[in-house]
């Protein structure tokens, strides 16, 4: 089953991190990703640019309205994410707790779900095995 792991970090603290420490953190993540790939847990991962680089899109009455910045101004922002494959929540939690960024912030672990159309279940991801939806 798939789980989304959202990594929340305090951007101010991150910004204050010396370059060398940041390099080490990044290297740990990249090494970790290779491990996850080998163990079969890795589906996808990305590091995100800071929240200021975000744009929010709302479409109402056919018109797209944009606002700059992230959805929520909170102390900790989404800094990156993983989609992992895990047998159950315990395994997902174990993977999440080993993420190199985990000691620095909060990781939200949320199960992914199928999309139902007329009683049939489909995977949203095009990268997973399973029934694909043909319109």
């Amino acid at each position: 089953m798939r789980y989304l792991c959202l990594i929340y970090l305090d951007e101010a603290k991150l910004g204050a991190m010396p370059q060398q420490e940041m390099d080490q953190l990044n290297a740990r993540h990249l090494r970790f990703n290779a491990e996850l790939l080998a163990s079969g847990h890795f589906v996808e991962a990305e590091a995100l640019q800071p929240a200021a680089a975000a744009t929010c899109v709302r479409v109402r009455n056919g018109k797209a309205a944009l606002t700059d910045g992230p959805y929520a101004e909170t102390k900790e922002m989404v800094a990156g994410f993983y989609v992992i494959e895990a047998r159950d929540l315990n395994e997902a939690i174990q993977v999440a707790s080993r993420l190199p960024s985990a000691p620095l912030g909060t990781v939200e672990v949320r199960p992914c779900r199928d999309l139902e159309v007329e009683g049939e279940a489909y995977k949203a991801s095009r990268k997973s095995p399973g029934r694909t939806y043909q319109s």
């Binding site: 047998r87 159950d88 929540l89 315990n90 199960p111 779900r113 009683g119």
Partner: protein
């Protein structure tokens, strides 16, 4: 076949089997069927079948095994008959259940681990909301009805029902596995279980005399649960918690006066303490301490044991208690533990020594809003003859607690001080 009297006998047998075995049957059905609700339906149907068939076929040699098998078959029937939109499991899931074979020797328990242990750990999973852990445990492991749980917590029944529904949904949707944690996670997960059990106990223990009837059952339930846990998983901290609760329970009769007022430990009528329960608890404490793998609950139990073994308050071995608090402060550093240690130091070394410690804790600001800290300060000042400071501290404590019995106690102390001859600041 079967007269009315025989039918009544069978009904009584089914009833006693229900009381003795229904939780174990449920725990196994949850594992086999992979879903709490499906398993509960199956359990119900199995007992209905027992009431119908045992008068005809006789009571089986192994009722638990019969109920598990019957429940499972009933569930398979039900799942197959459901329409596509309702089906809880896909074909693969159904086939897996159908393939389950019962143990060759009926009555021989399948698997090394008791399914009740799986059930306890699942109900107390940290991914579930804390109130949900308590409600789910009381319902699934202890077999309490939703209404009983609601009454005991002074919370509306629909609220409890909703907590349980959400918890089961989370178990299903997030796929919380039905398993006993491995060695690596066991200590942490056990902490969660023990926390739930102690929460249940304390909710029973803190009842005022008005609600005594329902709340007392909660304490009994918690002790029963802890005994089961210790039987299935004799970890030292589980043993320690059981001992701690038994020691509290042994003194229950003397804790509150007939008027509902708090009676201090030093004033309790020790002849009314349950000496047998104390003796049993002390043995448990000693076993837990001997393991050398003990934790905070065990030390708290050891402290309670020292109190409980003293024939009268004056004979209390305060030096030993302080020594135990030294260990506890190490294991579970917290200002509240330090405060309790300070009170013990005051008993060993005199109020001045205790006051120095209490003031140091208060100076750090951590217990500024904790009524008991100010009550402790007040008591120590009172013993030192510093009436003015005592009055101020009692007043502060009163401002911080809404608990009726505690307020009456503090008010009484305050009024006792007002009767003392010295006027103004003491």
């Amino acid at each position: 076949m079967g007269s009315a009297a025989e039918a009544a006998d069978i009904a009584a047998i089914v009833d006693s089997v229900y009381r003795a075995e229904s939780r174990r049957v449920l725990a196994t059905l949850i594992r086999q069927l992979g879903d709490f609700d499906v398993a509960e339906e199956a359990l119900h149907e199995a007992f209905v079948a027992a009431v119908e068939q045992w008068p005809v076929d006789g009571v089986p040699d192994h009722p638990r095994a019969w109920l598990i098998t019957t429940g499972r078959f009933k569930a398979i029937d039900r799942l197959r008959r459901r329409s596509k939109h309702e089906v809880a499991l896909d074909e693969e899931g159904l086939e897996r259940i159908e393939a389950i074979a019962d143990p060759a020797t009926p009555g021989e328990d399948e698997g090394v681990e008791d399914d009740r242990l799986r059930l306890i750990f699942t109900c107390c999973h940290p991914a579930l909301a804390p109130e949900a852990q308590v409600a789910l445990t009381l319902r699934e492991v202890c077999g309490l009805a939703t209404e009983e749980i609601a009454r005991a917590h002074l919370v509306p029944a629909p609220t409890v029902a909703q907590r349980i529904v959400r918890a089961k949904a989370k178990i299903r949707d997030a796929r919380i596995p039905y398993e006993v944690p491995g060695r690596g996670e066991l200590e942490e997960r056990l902490e969660s279980v023990l926390r739930v059990i102690y929460l249940v106990f304390n909710e029973g223990y803190l009842a005022s005399s008005g609600e005594a009837l329902t709340r007392h059952d909660l304490s009994t339930e918690a002790i029963r649960l802890a005994k089961l846990l210790v039987e299935l998983l004799p970890e030292p901290e589980a043993v320690g918690l059981l001992a701690l609760m038994m020691l509290h329970e042994a003194r229950r009769a003397t804790r509150v006066s007939p008027e509902g007022d708090l009676v201090l430990l030093e004033d309790q009528d020790r002849s009314k303490w349950d000496r047998a329960q104390i003796a049993d608890a002390v043995k448990l404490v000693e076993a837990a301490l001997a393991s050398r793998r003990f934790g905070p609950y065990t030390i708290q139990a050891a402290i309670a044991a020292v109190h409980a073994e003293a024939p009268e308050a004056g004979a209390t071995d305060w030096a030993q208690i302080v020594g135990l608090y030294d260990v506890l402060v190490d294991l579970q550093p917290s200002p509240v533990v330090e405060l309790n240690r300070a009170v013990a130091v005051a008993m060993r070394d005199g109020p001045k020594a205790g006051l120095t410690l209490v003031d140091a804790i208060l100076a750090r600001g951590e217990l500024a809003d904790y009524a008991l800290a100010h009550a402790a300060r007040a008591d120590l000042c009172r013993r030192l003859g510093r009436a003015g400071e005592a009055r101020a501290a009692y007043a502060k404590a009163l401002g911080l607690t809404a608990q009726a019995a505690q307020r009456r106690f503090l008010e009484r102390r305050l009024s006792e001080l007002s009767l003392s001859p010295a006027r103004g600041a003491g």
